[in-house]
Symmetry: C2
């Protein structure tokens, strides 16, 4: 269970490689199985097809299941499909149900059907049920391998039951208690169970105030709950409070990572964060959609400036400040956007009305706008020795900052109320919107004050 | 332990409020203590000073400690300071050592010294030691309340020891095993312990391959490890492998949230994400530093365009495409930056050389640049019926995208090698840098091809 760094992994792999080339199965197994499954997976991923096929014959499906649970999610369907179907079905069977379901969701339907036919019936049924849940809900990330005890058991009986179930269960540190109707009625932590007297009934030692989540709950809300309440696992129930599965903290850490990456990449205007090892082509493919949209939005901005060509012809100097004003608008909008999106996604908003949030952003914009506006007026007045140009740019910056800050908060909030993911109003979108607003303000003011400028 | 939504919390609070006003201590305690500490904390936070002082007299320090562990970190030092010192010291004493240390780190030194004097000696010593560790390292987030067993104990003895220690320990689901020199030699999960035969020695049932982290390890690396290896806790050791403390998964979830917010706010150019409930003034204060820096950088951009005033005077139409080109440069740079920063912070980079990453980004820029360049050339050629202008803008976009994409990856990578947090090269910085580059390219080309444009 040692954590390996790159160098150690390389050395370890050399030993394993030698064993493979010389077909020393025992040697390979001894070295390989000694490692943490995460390291096994990292080493496995780096192999080419030929060696992977050798490894499939050297490891039992159960051992391979542990490897598959830890390989990069984008690679795992390739591996599963290249295995002999009977072996693949066994591997899927031995994985945690939730992980197996994640993989099957990536495969085509015929493939899934054939795997489910080969699989042991009970496991296949469990998987079939989980396959129905919508992505990113409690149902799709829960596992059905958990320990459940009856409220009428004694502590001693519960411990005995637990010992039997422990090897199969995903976690045993919370035990969920059901009544005769199989409804969730309580929870007891293993900590409390081992402290409790053996003859007591579970009913008397359990906590009745068990927190559960409905099967359709959004995974982001679950992550928030787990973080706030410091749970290691959460039970998932249907609308009649029947226990369906549990969600463990390790799955939630992956969700947190995923959701953070999601917000982050949308702020940057990428459809999906690229992984190390991607080709330039696939990177370009992920980034191009936004760039092309922005190109057209940019053309729109250009056509707006085009309408002020007359103004520009008279005072070419005006062009000099376009990037400054557009840039300030873009940046202040992104700041407001980031605060709004993150507060929505961490649940920090929602306590206040939209109106009060937007009023506050407008005030923030007023403060930053006034300060930046005065600053730029002074700089231009002294530098270009043109007080009127200074006032024009200063006023533009001030008006722009107020509008752009408000827009940065307004757009995601409205989207949130319309049940659209607010992060879709990504950075580049707000930036371009604010480009346009700022240019209209700037050239509008410039045209109005033209007499002072020439 | 029910999870309360806003409405439920309000109702609950009304009951509690009534009890407080009527000075019904028992009623208040019954209602309040029934809730999950997180909800207790949320309700407590919303009270004004007068009622908070009442609550301090109604709850024991131990009960208040649980509340304090869950209140918003930014508020907790206010609360601790307003308590009677003897009560506050007791509260700190009863909190998890790691949480108490976090709070004391926020207070001024005299205050800390006086608390430590009042505190129980043993607890004070533990805290004093933890106060020495640098922020954001293993030492600063670990707790010293863990269960440790001797390798020479039997399973039965270990279980007995565990039952005794369980109420105090932060987690009991991993038991760390030490030898006579108090060095960490193994680990056994509670799961394995309860399955093991009672007469076996711990030595024989423990795993010797225990993963530990050095006390100076960065918290971000620890979070990554915990996520990859699915641990619930990690032991922290000194350079001689003495067990110093443990880090539990609930603390790591907070670290993950913190680090994600950090990367995110830097991409958006805010020094720190603002919380709900902040005033417009404090929001403006957090955003202004970047805006002012950008104002000056923007002035620099303006002065560069100023140098091309002659070119602009001849062809005012050139100004029309400034936002388009600068915008494309900014956006493509932010995309590349986001990928690089996130890959560095999730540890996905580092396996490849800087050179190969930058080469790949340049290639990506070449592909996106060529496609966008051709597109814009065609659009301008048909729209403005000016093929030369089209070629000029197209070439500029192409060159800009190649350079800006490369710069977006180059800057954070260089910073990372220089041991500077790559996220410091935040979105606005890269955007402005790329503004300048793009304008130099655009006007440089325009000046060179001037003969074709007029």
């Amino acid at each position: 269970m040692e954590h390996l760094n790159e160098k150690q992994r390389l050395e370890e792999w050399k030993k394993i490689q030698t064993a493979l080339v010389n077909e020393q199965i025992d040697q390979f197994r001894a070295e390989f199985l000694e490692m943490h499954p995460y390291d096994q997976a990292k080493i496995f991923e780096e192999q080419d097809e030929e060696i992977r096929f050798l490894i499939y014959t050297y490891l039992s499906p159960e051992e391979m299941a542990e490897v598959m649970e830890n390989v990069d999610f984008e690679l795992v369907s390739t591996f599963i499909t290249e295995m002999v179907p009977a072996y693949a079905a066994k591997v899927l069977e031995d994985m945690s149900t939730d992980d197996a379901v994640d993989i099957l969701n990536e495969l085509d339907k015929n493939k899934v059907a054939s795997f489910l036919t080969i699989m042991e019936k009970e496991e296949a049924e469990e998987i079939k049920e989980l396959l129905h849940y919508e992505e990113k809900t409690a149902g799709s990330i829960m596992t059905t391998e958990f320990v459940v005890i009856q409220e009428t058991m004694t502590v001693k009986e519960a411990m005995r039951h637990l010992r039997k179930e422990a090897p199969e269960a995903e976690t045993i540190y919370y035990l969920y208690v059901i009544d005769v109707d199989k409804k969730l009625v309580g929870v007891i932590s293993l900590r409390d169970l081992i402290i409790a007297e053996g003859d007591f009934l579970i009913l008397d030692v359990m906590s009745e105030r068990v927190v559960s989540v409905p099967v359709g709950e959004d995974q982001e809300d679950i992550a928030r709950m787990m973080r706030d309440y410091d749970f290691l696992a959460l039970p998932v129930v249907d609308f009649q409070n029947h226990l369906l599965g549990i969600i463990t903290v390790d799955d939630i850490m992956d969700v947190m990572e995923e959701e953070a990456n999601d917000d982050y990449s949308k702020l940057a205007g990428i459809s999906e964060l690229e992984k190390e090892g991607e080709t330039a082509f696939s990177s370009a493919k992920k980034r191009l959609p936004w760039l092309v949209i922005l190109l057209f939005l940019g053309m729109f901005t250009a056509s707006i400036i085009g309408r002020f060509e007359e103004t520009l012809d008279k005072v070419a100097l005006l062009a000099v400040f376009i990037p400054l004003i557009a840039g300030m608008a873009g940046n202040t909008g992104t700041q407001a956007l980031a605060v709004a999106v993150r507060n929505i996604s961490t649940g920090d908003s929602g306590k206040r009305s939209n109106f009060s949030i937007i009023k506050q952003e407008a005030k923030t914009g007023l403060i930053t706008g006034t300060i930046c506006g005065i600053l730029i007026t002074l700089i231009i007045a002294f530098w270009y020795e043109d007080i009127y140009l200074g006032i024009l740019v200063g006023l533009s910056i001030m008006a722009t900052l107020i509008v752009a800050t408000t827009a940065g908060a307004f757009v995601p909030l409205i989207m949130h109320r319309l049940k659209i993911d607010p992060a879709v109003a990504s950075g580049p979108f707000i930036t371009t919107l604010n480009d346009i607003i700022s240019i209209l303000i700037y050239f509008g003011l410039a045209t109005a004050f033209m007499n002072f400028l020439i």
